[in-house]
């Protein structure tokens, strides 16, 4: 009851005009930043922090909440229209979003992405408000061995990413795992594949590889096509069946399922939006009656991916606010933003400054709703203008934007060269029909699996049974077994009949 009172006590301040304005500005800025490959919400908020010194905390947090939610949706725009993910999690959006666009249903895909982002974000914000303190207990259940199994569980979703030729898919995953090993080994301090370069000691930034693999090859192909064949134009045109209520019933199960997964992943630090999107997509596809439609342009695929990554947003703030342990890169910089305003995360945050904490939660909720308004028709119309640009102009524009974004990561050309290198690798792999998504999955999860396995082994001095010592790790281990073994049985049974 007391909590409920505190929650509603925070509401009036959030609705003051300057705070509403802050949220609108943040959401719009987030959508733009998210839609530019190479620029992320993390970067935008980090750059914003010093500018917020003079603002009141709620205004600053309103902008941050807007950027956070806006960027996660913005990433879907180029993913659908150009097959270039604007943010890491929107890779999953490309699976069905781009095929939809090629079928002339880009407008629908964009709308589904918008609705799904809004719904995922809103449900996540509600979970943050209602359940933050108790949900933290779940976070605490996860130690190194549990994270290890969680990583393995994520890896099992690789099956859906393998594409037509599983061998090529597995090779791609191995490339991802290999790239993930670059850098100094946390446990021994040994340097791996750094070739004496200082810039590689911390490993290669995921964003550099991702942008290289996903943004450069399409740009090269655009130019190529210009000289070889007629370019395929993506039209953004509305369709009478595109209404929200017409699709509501079809998408509702996907929204609910993906939100739950996104929230679950969000409260676990060290996972993040990409993992939420991958797992949600995998789960929705696995439980669908007609999984063969996925990957060819099923709106449920777009919905799963976007709900998954947006419902991770507020949930990732739960361990961040309550424990001071950020659940994702963005929540880490938001934490820094809080610190600058003298708000130290931890249990005392809820006790001492409830108006600001709950105000921020409201802002996460309101900015999710704003996606409906700002991301719907207005944004679609705006982005369709970009698509009218001739591809010879669009291609260098993409390259320039990625260059600026990647340079800004460390104010250094080194990452830019790696990005272009990865771009060429990505182009070649593309031409050879290698799927790129397994590379990213390997990269995202490889480190998590390795580090947690080694931590578990160190703590328990090499005792392998420690991996399944706790009840939770037994459950996760069981889930991994089921996911890997059941399809084999099914195939055997089908072969018999």
């Amino acid at each position: 009851m007391e909590t409920l009172q505190a929650i509603f006590h925070a509401l009036p301040a959030v609705l003051a005009w300057h705070n509403v304005l802050a949220m609108v500005v943040g959401t719009l800025a987030g959508m733009v930043v998210g839609s530019l490959p190479g620029l992320t919400a993390t970067m935008a908020i980090a750059v914003l922090i010093p500018l917020t010194f003079s603002m009141s905390p709620l205004v600053a947090l309103g902008i941050m909440a807007g950027i956070y939610n806006g960027a996660m949706y913005g990433g879907a725009v180029p993913a659908i229209l150009l097959n270039v993910p604007g943010t890491p999690p929107s890779i999953v959006t490309t699976f069905d979003g781009y095929p939809l666009a090629k079928q002339g249903r880009a407008a629908l895909a964009l709308k589904v992405a918008c609705w799904s982002s809004a719904i995922g974000g809103a449900l996540s914000a509600i979970s943050l408000m209602a359940l933050a303190p108790p949900l933290v207990l779940v976070t605490l259940l996860f130690g190194p061995s549990e994270y290890f199994w969680l990583g393995i569980l994520g890896m099992s979703s690789i099956a859906i990413l393998l594409g037509k030729d599983p061998i090529k898919g597995l090779i791609a995953a191995a490339i991802g795992l290999l790239l993930g090993t670059v850098g100094s080994d946390v446990v021994t301090g040994q340097q791996r594949f750094t070739f004496g370069r200082l810039e590689l000691i911390d490993g290669i930034n995921l964003l550099v590889i991702l942008t290289g693999l996903y943004a450069i090859p399409p740009a090269i192909r655009m130019i190529e096509k210009r000289y070889s064949e007629n370019t395929e134009r993506i039209e953004i045109k509305g369709h009478p069946d595109d209404g929200f209520f017409k699709n509501f019933k079809y998408l509702l199960p996907t929204w609910l399922r993906s939100s739950l997964i996104g929230i679950g992943v969000g409260i676990l630090p060290a996972t993040g939006g990409s993992m939420a999107a991958f797992l949600a997509y995998n789960e929705v596809r696995r439980t669908a009656k007609n999984p063969e439609l996925f990957g060819k342009g099923d709106i449920r695929g777009v919905a799963a991916a976007e709900t998954g990554n947006n419902s991770d947003n507020s949930a990732a703030m739960i361990p961040a606010l309550v424990l001071g342990v950020p659940g994702s890169g963005v929540s880490a910089v938001i934490l820094a933003g809080l610190l600058v305003h003298g708000l130290q995360p931890g249990p005392q945050l809820f006790r001492d400054t409830p108006d600001i904490v709950y105000g921020f939660m409201w802002q996460m909720l309101f900015t999710s709703f704003m996606l409906f308004a700002l991301g719907g028709n207005i944004a679609t119309r705006l982005f369709s203008q970009v698509m009218r640009l001739p591809q010879v102009i669009l291609a260098p524009m993409i390259m320039c934007l990625t260059l600026v974004g990647i340079y800004a990561l460390s104010n250094d050309m080194f990452n830019v060269w790696i990005m272009f290198g990865m771009g060429i690798v990505g182009y070649i792999l593309n031409r050879l029909d290698f799927p790129l998504a397994p590379i990213v999955l390997g990269l995202v999860l490889g480190n998590m699996i390795e580090q947690n396995l080694r931590l578990t082994m160190l703590i328990h001095q090499g005792d392998l049974t420690a991996l399944i010592a706790s009840p939770l790790s037994k459950v996760l281990f069981g889930l991994c077994l089921i996911l890997c073994v059941v399809p084999i049985f099914r195939r055997l049974r089908r072969a018999k009949s």
Binding site: A46, F53, S184, L198, E199, D202, A336, L339, Q344, S410
Partner: protein, 323 residues
């Protein structure tokens, strides 16, 4: 006899011009914006600290500071840039100790402790060893006894990697007491703190400011502080020294310029930082954010830097922490 006198006066003349020109530099200094290298990502601890104090230094220096993030190799990229940067006083950088020095033992670095001239220290955060509040280990002595009776059996998590201040401190405890522990580097404070709260690891070593809130709300207990005297953030916690283990360790963060910068320029910078650190508005902000501000300026800072360097030398000689 005229020749040598001529050359003498020439030398004197050159000397005078050089002197007067440096004096001129110091007089007009600073006349344009100063670059400040932060060797970590935007939004990280050092970056936030830098951006929090930036406006106050600007206020007293009367010139803009431009923060440039140069992350990489745990800060080494930025530190190297600072060491090899211009010595005109327009490039300053944040340095983190002992991390910055300890890289030099593990690999060839582009700098040595002699490559920097300290401007001022801003933050000092002593190391601590913490347990969950339900742990059977009540004091540092319990921990040492356990480590002596069961050598290498007790895992202690640290927030850094190999060669972090916590790792070196644990090696110091082992050397001082004969106990043996099992060092588990988590790489960062956040996952370690959750693992400790969740009971996945029993003992952890990180910095005092990262533990105080959890000690206050009763979820963690401090076994001791690795500082020479008790710390104001937690005055009831005994130091390691009080408990018979002579280990002093902590992380500090300060400002430095490349060695060889005009001492007058360093003095101007140092004075501005001193005023900034004592600005009541800044102090209030730092206190609210839980930043353990600890100003050391001028010659004292140089002494402090060489102490850190000497104690690392001693630790490396006793127990090299990396091959």
């Amino acid at each position: 006899m005229t020749k040598p006198r001529f050359s003498l006066s020439l030398i004197a003349a050159i000397g005078l011009t050089v002197l007067s020109s440096t004096a001129a530099i110091a007089q007009n200094y600073p006349d344009h914006a100063i670059d400040v290298i932060v060797a970590f990502n935007p939004g990280g601890g050092t970056d936030v600290a830098a951006r929090t104090i930036e406006p106050y230094i600007e206020k007293y220096l009367g010139e803009d500071l431009v923060i440039i993030n140069k992350p990489g190799a745990g800060g080494e990229v930025g530190f190297s840039l600072l060491a090899t940067g211009k010595k005109d006083g327009y490039t300053m950088g944040f340095i983190n100790l002992p991390a910055m020095y300890s890289y030099s033992y593990e690999r060839d670095t582009a700098y040595s402790p002699k490559s920097f001239t300290g401007v001022a220290n801003l933050v000092y955060d002593p190391g601590v060893i913490v347990v969950r509040s339900d742990s059977t280990l009540k004091t540092l002595q319990d921990l040492v006894d356990y480590g002596t009776k069961n050598p290498g059996a007790l895992p202690i998590g640290t927030s850094g990697s190999i060669g972090s201040s916590e790792h070196i401190a644990i090696l110091g405890v082992e050397a001082a007491t004969g106990a043996k522990f099992n060092h588990v580097p988590f790489g960062a404070t956040a996952p370690l703190r959750t693992a400790l709260l969740g009971g996945h690891i029993q003992v952890a070593a990180f910095n005092l400011s990262e533990a105080t809130e959890y000690v206050k709300d009763g979820s963690m207990r401090l076994l001791g502080v690795m500082s020479d005297k008790r710390n104001a953030m937690s005055p009831d916690t005994p130091t390691f020294r009080e408990q018979g283990v002579d280990v002093i360790s902590g992380s500090s963060r300060g400002l430095a310029v490349s060695a060889g910068t005009d001492p007058k320029v360093v003095a101007i910078l140092s004075a501005a930082v001193e005023k900034a650190v004592n600005d009541p508005e800044y102090l209030a902000k730092a206190k609210a954010a839980g930043v353990p501000v600890h100003y050391i300026g001028g010659a004292d800072y140089d002494v402090f830097l060489s102490q850190v360097s000497a104690s690392l030398d001693a630790a490396w000689a006793a127990t090299p922490w990396s091959k």
